[in-house]
Structures are given as structure tokens and as C-alpha cells.
């Protein structure tokens, strides 16, 4: 998957604001790729371009033609769920579009939940649930049909710590089982380092910062990675390398 974005601009109150510049990226099939960066540095915009939801940019993205096997977990999970559907219908939306009957969908969803040891009240409606539960449902909706490309835009933001840990195990297990590409956005560096094969650090554009990419780093730790890895020296070294780079960038401003 090749993405080349020379420039992406937004109109805001009659002024043009550039959010992405000089992104040249090649993501391997089956790679676990994390995008890390501060708020409002254009992470979500980049994902929408990759997946073809946003076509107004200068550059090329060769993935946009094949949207058929993509799962996209939206950052604004509350808005992205269908409030008129119960959890079963929300999670099995892909199967519903493919004409599967309710019993078949229930079977598929239940076997997925069992596989990953998750329990969810499938009869409940989104508005009857906590934010964390809603986020979990919106995440499962994109995972359940095991797409070749899974795009996760800060999928764990509203989960409590316990569920966060569990989901980071599940997502690694899932990646191993399915073998698809995962693009994972986060503004949590530890989380990104724990999950990624490679991590791309982005920055906010301004008069001094001319490029969106601050650096791309390989993360070579053995799997399965447990949360204890965050405490290890190897990870600490990589993390301080990234943070030093970010600090330098700040000083240049």
C-alpha cells in the first residue's frame, strides 16, 4: 500500500489551513503500523484519505480503489453506532449487508466473542450502555468480519484500564490469527510501542515544521508482548529516542 500526499488543506473560516504535507509512505501487507502524534496533527485525516473517504488532496493513494475489504473504527464511536440497532445488529452490520439472517449473524458474532473471550449483552441498545461498552461494540463491528485492512482510530480511548489491557492482548492475538494489515492511531506512546511493528511519529504543521512526518521507527520486540514490556529497558531506550526527537522539534519552533 503506497500513499503519497504532497498537501492536504482545509478551509476554516475563509482561511486555508494545511494539515498534511509531504507524506510518503509504504505499508507492507500484513503489517501492524501505528501512527502516533499530538492532537490535531492530521492523523484521522490521513486515515480517511487512505481509505478513500476523503479525496480532496494533492497526491496519490493506491488503496482507494479497493475499499471492499476494509474495517474502519471511527474515533467518534458514539456517533458511529446506529442507535436504532441493538448490539447484535450493530456488530454484525457487515453480515447484514451481505444478506445473512439473524440466527446466522448471532452464531458468527457469538463464535467471535467466544474466540476472544469477550462478553457483551447483544440485546442492549447503544444508548443503554456506558461509553466504554459502546466503544467496544464499534470496535467489534469492524473486527468481526476479519477484513484485510483494519483501521483503528484511537479505539481504546474510553475503555477502562482493565479492558484496555485485555483489548491490547486481543488485538495482538487477532492480528496473528487474521494476518491482515492493521493501521492503528493513538496519542498514547506506550500503547503504540506495545502494539506496533513500525511506528510513525507525526507533528503539527506550522511556520517552522514543513513536513508532517517526524520519523518512522521499527519496533522489534518479540510477541506476544505483555504490558510489562513497557517497563523494559529496550522499550525505554526507543521511547526516549522518540521523545528526544520530539523535544528538539519543539525547541526549533
Amino acid at each position: 500500500m503506497k500513499i503519497e500526499i504532497y498537501s492536504k488543506k482545509f478551509m476554516q473560516e475563509n482561511a486555508e489551513i494545511e494539515v498534511l504535507k509531504n507524506i510518503n509512505l509504504e505499508i507492507q501487507e500484513g503489517e501492524f503500523f501505528c501512527i502516533y502524534g499530538p492532537n490535531a496533527c492530521g492523523k484521522t485525516t490521513l486515515l480517511k484519505i487512505i481509505v478513500g473517504l476523503d479525496n480532496e488532496f494533492v497526491g496519490e493513494s493506491n488503496h482507494t480503489k479497493d475499499i471492499s475489504d476494509v474495517g474502519f473504527i471511527f474515533q467518534n464511536y458514539k456517533e458511529s453506532l446506529f442507535p436504532w440497532m441493538d448490539n447484535l445488529d450493530n456488530i454484525s452490520y457487515f453480515f447484514m449487508l451481505n444478506g445473512l439472517r439473524k440466527e446466522e449473524r448471532l452464531k458468527k458474532v457469538n463464535s467471535f466473542l467466544e474466540e476472544y473471550g469477550l462478553g457483551i449483552d447483544l440485546k442492549a441498545y447503544p444508548y443503554q450502555q456506558s461509553g466504554g461498552q459502546q466503544q467496544l461494540v464499534s470496535t467489534l463491528r469492524a473486527m468481526v468480519y476479519k477484513p484485510k485492512l483494519l483501521i483503528m482510530d484511537e479505539p481504546f480511548g474510553s475503555l477502562d484500564q482493565r479492558l484496555r489491557l485485555k483489548m491490547s492482548d486481543i488485538i495482538q492475538q487477532y492480528w496473528k490469527d487474521v494476518g491482515g494489515t492493521i493501521l492503528f492511531i493513538s496519542h498514547d506512546l506506550d500503547e503504540s510501542l506495545l502494539l506496533a511493528e513500525r511506528i510513525m511519529v507525526m507533528r503539527k504543521l506550522n511556520e517552522v515544521n514543513k513536513d508532517s512526518i517526524l520519523g518512522i521507527f521499527k519496533v522489534e520486540f518479540a510477541r506476544p508482548r505483555q504490558v510489562e514490556l513497557v517497563e523494559s529497558l529496550d522499550l525505554f531506550n526507543l521511547k526516549s529516542k522518540i521523545l528526544t526527537l520530539m523535544r528538539k522539534d519543539l525547541e526549533n519552533e
Partner: protein, 252 residues
């Protein structure tokens, strides 16, 4: 005090009105000829249900209201959904729709009489035309205010245009459609009662109110107005219950 009143609090307003109704003629503020006492009107209501067979009139008025309302929905909602989806088409018809919506429906009664002759067709036409316009505007607005994120979810999960409509857009539009239906139901009753006064018929609440007035049966006229009001109120309350059942996610 609040606790003791409980649900009874909603009865205070109506009780004040009935009390005023009782007292004002006694004080000589209003002549009793123009405002017969609640008791006299109450007796008339009983009389209407007894010997005067008002149930037939209620039935006819209700039947006309509901038929007109359904026929309006049958063309207004689909037309509104299509217009809402195709922005250019909406722009093409915007002026026409706004014009006819601004035109008081009652102004069309004489025209309807010429085209459809005196009878039910003219009456139903007025209702389905006016209510249909309300429904077009609300349905189109509902489609246009569809949440973009949810539409993107459908798109990215591979929904066809037809599936986008059935699984997302139509559901998104439902609250607006129901708001339009609620307005239409009230408007339908108004138009039916007015048309019963002017478009020849011998049954219907509008006709009976008009007759009572002609013959100076003032208490009977009040009774009929009361019955008509209660009919409208009941229809509205029933509809709200139905709406809450269908749009269970509303306001949550």
C-alpha cells in the same frame, strides 16, 4: 406539597378553566346565552351520545381524517425522501413546494369543488395535498440532516445505495418524519372539520357544529366543540405513544 399533588398537578389548569366557565356568566361578564354553564353543556354531550347519534359523526370525521392522513403519507414521505437525497432535485422544486406550503389549504376548497365536484374526493384531496407538503419538507429535511459519520460507516462497510437508504438514511430521517406526521395529523383534523362545514355532507362533526350554530343550539354547539377537541387531543396522545415506541432511541 409537590409530592402530595403528584400526577394530579396536570388537572389544575383544566379545573381553573371549568371554574371560570362556571363563574363568568354568573357574574354577568358574559351572557349565559353565549356561554351556557358546564352542566348544561355536559347534559347536551350526554344527549348527543344518546338520542342524537353523535358517534356516527365522530366516526365519519375520524375516518376522513385518518384516510387523508394516510394518503398524504403515501406520497409525501417517499417524495420527501427522494428530494432530500438528490439536492439538485430539491433545489428545482424548492420554490414550488414553499409556495404551496405557504398557501392556506382552505383557499383551495372552491377549486377542489370544481375539479372533484361536491363530495368526499374533494375533501380528501385537500387533506392529502396539504399534509403531503408538510411531509415532503420534513422527510427531505430528515434525509439532509443525516449523520455523516454513520453514512461513512455504511459506505465503508460496503452498503449499496439501496442499503444505505434502508439501514441508515431512512432511520436517520424518522424523527423528522414523525414530527411531520404529528403536524399532519392535527392539520388533517382541522381541514376535515372545516371542509365538513363547506363541502356538502350531512354527517361529520364540522357539519353538526355548523348546524347547531345556524339553529341557535348554543349548548349543543359547545358540546360538539368539546367532543371535537377531545378527539384531536386523543389522536395526538395516541400518536405520541406510537412515536415513542418506534423511535425508542429518540433524545438519548
Amino acid at each position: 406539597m409537590n409530592k402530595r399533588l403528584g400526577h394530579g398537578i396536570i388537572l389544575i389548569g383544566p379545573l381553573i378553566i371549568v371554574a371560570l366557565w362556571y363563574i363568568l356568566p354568573r357574574l354577568g361578564v358574559i351572557k349565559e346565552f353565549f356561554l351556557p354553564t358546564p352542566i348544561r353543556v355536559g347534559k347536551e354531550v350526554l344527549n348527543l351520545f344518546g338520542t342524537k347519534n353523535v358517534l356516527t359523526d365522530i366516526g365519519y370525521t375520524l375516518y376522513r381524517t385518518v384516510v387523508g392522513f394516510f394518503l398524504a403519507g403515501l406520497w409525501g414521505i417517499p417524495a420527501g425522501l427522494v428530494l432530500g437525497y438528490y439536492a439538485k432535485l430539491y433545489r428545482m422544486f424548492e420554490v414550488v413546494i414553499d409556495f404551496f406550503r405557504s398557501l392556506p389549504a382552505t383557499a383551495l376548497i372552491p377549486l377542489a369543488l370544481i375539479v372533484f365536484a361536491i363530495g368526499e374526493t374533494a375533501r380528501i384531496f385537500i387533506v392529502l395535498f396539504s399534509c403531503g407538503l408538510v411531509l415532503i419538507i420534513n422527510s427531505a429535511y430528515g434525509v439532509k440532516s443525516c449523520n455523516i459519520t454513520r453514512l461513512q460507516v455504511a459506505e465503508i462497510t460496503g452498503a449499496s445505495t439501496r442499503q444505505k437508504f434502508s439501514t441508515v438514511i431512512f432511520r436517520e430521517a424518522l424523527p423528522e418524519i414523525f414530527a411531520g406526521l404529528r403536524i399532519s395529523l392535527s392539520l388533517s383534523l382541522i381541514l376535515v372539520v372545516v371542509s365538513e362545514m363547506f363541502i356538502g355532507t350531512t354527517v361529520g362533526l364540522g357539519q353538526k357544529i355548523f348546524d347547531a350554530q345556524l339553529m341557535n343550539h348554543i349548548a349543543e354547539m359547545y358540546g360538539l366543540i368539546l367532543i371535537t377537541g377531545l378527539l384531536g387531543y386523543g389522536l395526538n396522545k395516541l400518536f405520541v405513544l406510537f412515536e415513542r415506541h418506534i423511535i425508542h432511541w429518540g433524545g438519548k
